[in-house]
Symmetry: C2
Subunit: 620 residues, 2 copies
């Protein structure tokens, strides 16, 4: 039945041999790797406006210079990553680049920043995607948390079944999104220039003529920091170079430049439209939706815009469902995370990592009430920390390598590292109290956990190692040919007799033990033993406190003391196995408890106990 | 650490020998056994009024004739039980009497009715007790559900530590309750007759002069049925006869009559006062509290009244905490309930039954929002069903015995059975839609569960029985001197080597098996095996779907087919045991999963598998 349920959820298992690597053309690769970056166009402008509105509607005009600054930063970072692609043609994620060039600790810091950011990418993208839907269908606004969690569960499920990064599947929504946004931008600008589109003169807009009030440098920097979420996902291509067709690095580099160009123009276009239409951020409708309705009306084109936005945001979340489990598996392979994360599931995906990501993202969405702008202050800290570490690692890489034109490369990556470091400081300073502190506490915590886990695995390997031991002496036969075998008896029945028979086949030194919990039962065992004991001595253990385990452990210790030359004692437990699952409810699980205490409870004795389970299967 | 927590909760364990039976004087016995019955005075009158108020305040006057009818019924039932005491001097609970005289099914019906009623006694008593508190302290009204659950948990805890039915402990609140109520009655009547106490002329009471509206026979019967809760607990003495001093039956009989007299006069007194003072039931204050405030004022005497009421209700609940686990244990001894219920805990109490009762009562309290009057329709069905079955059983008993004056005894018990049967019908008819249907569905469900459980234990005993088997042939040594021993290897380390050494000490026919989940690991095992294998053959099992269990089971089946003459295969599992609990989180629990599948999963094979756990303890 369990197997059936597994199949229903996961689909038929795939053999290991089915793992293949598909190579992508530049067109498909752009679709696969850019959904995360491009999708941020859906919310980045809004986040800038949400900060500026604090200083009054007039301050919204400042979104344009801020957007230009962000576009400049984007250019620097994209150039920087262009270099990384050529420096690490086999795939240069921040963890690998930082680990290789800066050492263990920077590598682990980059890894924990990345893991946190993958979780946030899912939460932010899904909440923004659901916001695109609820903007078009306001009645669903109340259900946004449930819709978010449902979407996460569906994406998890698809990934557990093994949605591969199929170019075709991704290409349709990504290019649809690009097309729709380009169309929106062009239509909007044409109609604006033609004077056929004017900002609605609402009471809010009337205030817009008044000068900005309460505007400060801090607020401007915070708006800039919020807008920097536009850069998230830009590193995706540098992680996925091996998926490109040959020459991989070359194709990846060109794709990166194309993506950066698209992202910059879409982001600037939306910001310009928002400014020209004097869009004010609203609780129940996104900025993009407002622009869409004004430019396209409330008809089909508008609905397509919202749908395409929602779809690309789902794809962006899906990217994390590939990245998070992959990075977890790499960390687990390096022994910084539990090794279960390296297990390939039935469908050749890292199932445990996928489930962990879905759970963490759902928790975030629920805590933050499914609201994108409440999640934003946590976002981007991890991204820019990993940007900085990765670029700094690249600087070190070029200095070490000193290949052709290394000075130029060092300058470019150095510029990238410096720029992202400054932005990181701005983000931390302006968003600290709004939630960034959570991430700043979590990153060292994660690093500490990585360290503890690594220490355990190293110690385990040392303890289990056979290095330097001589097989003849260490693993040779034990001196005690006959083991001391103890059979625990609670009543004389077929199960006990089967266990006794097995014990006698193992050794000539068998002792049966009954713990005197109930006098009548003990008397009955004694009586039957003459007939069924086959000469095996029966020891009755007193149990004034009605415990079975205590007297048994004490008896084993006495045995140890009497025969210190024996290396271990063997305990045989007869266990009858019910035919129906619910029959288990009707029995004391004494055998199971004793087994656990003997195998796992070391405090009782220095010697090892071998526990032998002799099952007796009931038929009905 | 677990041991410490146990001790903190339960106290130090008591040896079995400490189980002693205390004998009670009549005075103390009255305190111990009558709290349940007497405490119903606190709510029975109110339940009558709550039904009558539906027909308008004027109908409240009818409470007096209804109370008189209930007092008559009480007389009949008490006389009936007086006979039971002399017929079953060793303790005649309804289950035993019905089982003995009417057969298995009536016995089980009585048992399930009783179990349900014990749970309801706790729920009703605790909610009524908390109502007594919140009447005096209205600010606590909002917290009543929490207070009820807290009270149940505290009583559970006290019982788990082994509060014995200590006469002295019970005597104080019971006699305080009796004294306070007698004082209340006498003061009230004296002041009423002296004309110094008149009903307050509130708007509600103004209506009281109008004639009753919408009054029907059905409503009168429902009021009667609700008031019959006054009889609950009257059977307690007949269950506890062995606790009395000699001559037990005689003392118990006299105590029963004293209790009946007290109960009747207190119940009638409160009803009379309520009628004379024209008390109208209120949501936030009990009827007894209203009477108390009018008669005694809002001072200390009133507070003592409320406190005494709350205390005796707690004692009444406590009675069920002795009765429910005792009846469960008797049923479990007779194999109608899981045998875990017969386990004496550390403090010589039936701990599992106590916990089960607390959980069930808390669930009821939460479902019914801590309101007594919503629980009442469920109550009394079980009580009167067990009354009827018990009295009917006594009729049969006397007819069978035909001792001195048997005709008189048959008549009395027959009268009791008939009266309680009629009341049962009235209760069912009038309360059916208000909640009694739940109990009417639950009783046969419980009986069915008892039956299923009994059937399992009988079948178990038959399957395990050695009856008719010959020890020499059935339990003689197996023909295969050397067992086929299979060692599961996942890597070659100290744990594996220890397991291999143990396997070689058991048999000459040892095979090591490695499942090829990861090629590199398998290659490493093969390579090391030449050095550490000691000539034991190593079999590599293909695993295209990365499962360890599947290929292992298949291999075992092949072994079975090759060597059908062997009775079983022995599987040795090396298992390293982490030194810290949290280390468990960092490992696949493959060994545990395989163990479970081999021992419990019968579907894979007809042959038994013996599983041997060879632990290797890590030090840090």
């Amino acid at each position: 039945m369990l197997t059936f349920a597994r199949k229903l959820i996961y689909g038929s298992p795939l053999p290991t041999a089915a793992e293949v690597h598909q190579r992508l053309t530049r067109v498909k690769a752009l679709a696969v790797f850019s959904s995360d970056a491009l999708s941020s166009v859906a919310y980045a402008t809004e986040e800038i406006l949400l900060v500026l509105i604090v200083a009054g509607p007039a301050a919204l005009k400042l979104s344009w210079p801020i957007a230009l600054a962000i576009a400049g930063l984007l250019l620097v970072v994209a150039t920087s990553y262009y270099q990384t692609i050529h420096g690490y043609p086999s795939g240069g994620g921040a963890y690998i680049v930082a680990y290789d060039n800066l050492g263990v600790w920077p590598g682990l810091i980059a890894a924990s920043a990345l893991l946190i950011d993958y979780v946030l990418t899912v939460a932010v993208s899904i909440t923004a995607g659901v916001a695109a839907i609820t903007s078009a269908l306001p009645t669903l606004h109340q259900l946004r948390v449930q819709l978010c969690v449902l979407a996460i569960v569906l994406i998890m499920w698809a990934n557990l079944r093994g949605v591969r990064e199929s170019g075709t599947l991704f290409a349709i929504p990504t290019y649809a999104f690009i097309l729709v946004f380009v169309a929106l931008g062009v239509t909007g600008l044409v109609r604006l220039l033609g004077g056929r589109l004017a900002p609605p003169s609402s009471p809010t807009n009337a205030i817009a003529t008044a000068g900005p009030s309460g505007l400060s440098l801090f607020l401007l920097l915070r708006a800039f920091a919020s807008g920097c979420t536009a850069l998230t996902g830009i590193e995706a291509i540098s992680n996925g170079i091996p998926a490109f067709r040959k020459p991989e690095a070359d194709n990846a580099g060109k794709t990166l430049l194309a993506m950066a160009a698209l992202l910059t123009s879409m982001f600037l276009g939306i910001t310009l439209l928002a400014r020209s239409l004097q869009v004010v951020p609203q609780e129940h409708e996104t900025v993009v939706s407002q622009i869409g309705r004004q430019v396209l009306g409330a008809g089909l084109p508008y609905l397509i815009l919202q749908l395409a936005t929602a779809l690309i945001l789902v794809l962006a979340a899906n990217t994390s469902f590939a990245d998070f489990p992959r990075l977890s598996a790499i960390l687990a392979r390096d022994r910084y995370l539990p090794r279960q994360l390296t297990n390939l599931g039935d469908r050749l995906v890292f199932a445990n990592g996928i489930i962990a990501l879905a759970v963490l993202a759902s928790v975030l969405v629920i805590i933050f009430g499914g609201q994108t702008h409440r999640l934003i202050p946590l976002y981007a800290v991890g991204v820019f920390l990993s940007f900085t570490l990765s670029q700094a690692g690249m600087v070190r890489h070029w200095i070490r390598e000193r290949g052709a034109g290394w000075q130029w490369k060092v300058t470019m990556n150095g510029l990238g590292a410096a720029a992202t470091a400054i932005v990181l400081l701005i983000i931390v300073a302006t968003k600290l109290v709004h939630g960034a502190w959570v991430v700043i506490l979590l990153i060292p915590l994660f690093v500490w956990v990585f360290h503890i886990i690594k220490r355990h695995y190293v110690s385990l390997a040392q303890q289990l190692s056979l290095e330097g031991l001589r097989p003849e002496t260490w693993a040779g036969m034990a001196s005690d040919r006959w083991h001391k075998v103890i059979v625990l008896v609670s009543g004389v029945h077929r199960g006990t007799v089967a266990a006794l028979r097995f014990a006698r086949s193992l050794s000539r030194d068998v002792t049966a033990v009954v713990v005197d919990v109930e006098q009548r039962e003990t008397a009955r065992v004694r009586e039957k033993w003459t007939l069924w004991g086959h000469g095996v001595p029966l020891v009755v253990l007193e149990s004034p406190y009605r415990s079975t385990l205590g007297p048994l452990l004490q008896f084993l210790e006495e045995v140890d003391q009497h025969e210190p030359e024996r290396s271990l004692a063997v305990v045989v437990l007869p266990e009858f196995v019910p035919a129906q699952w619910w029959h288990h409810l009707l029995h004391n699980h004494t055998a199971r408890l004793i087994k656990r205490a003997l195998v796992y409870g070391r405090e009782h004795s220095d010697k090892d106990r071998v526990v032998i389970d002799v099952p007796y299967h009931l038929q009905r």
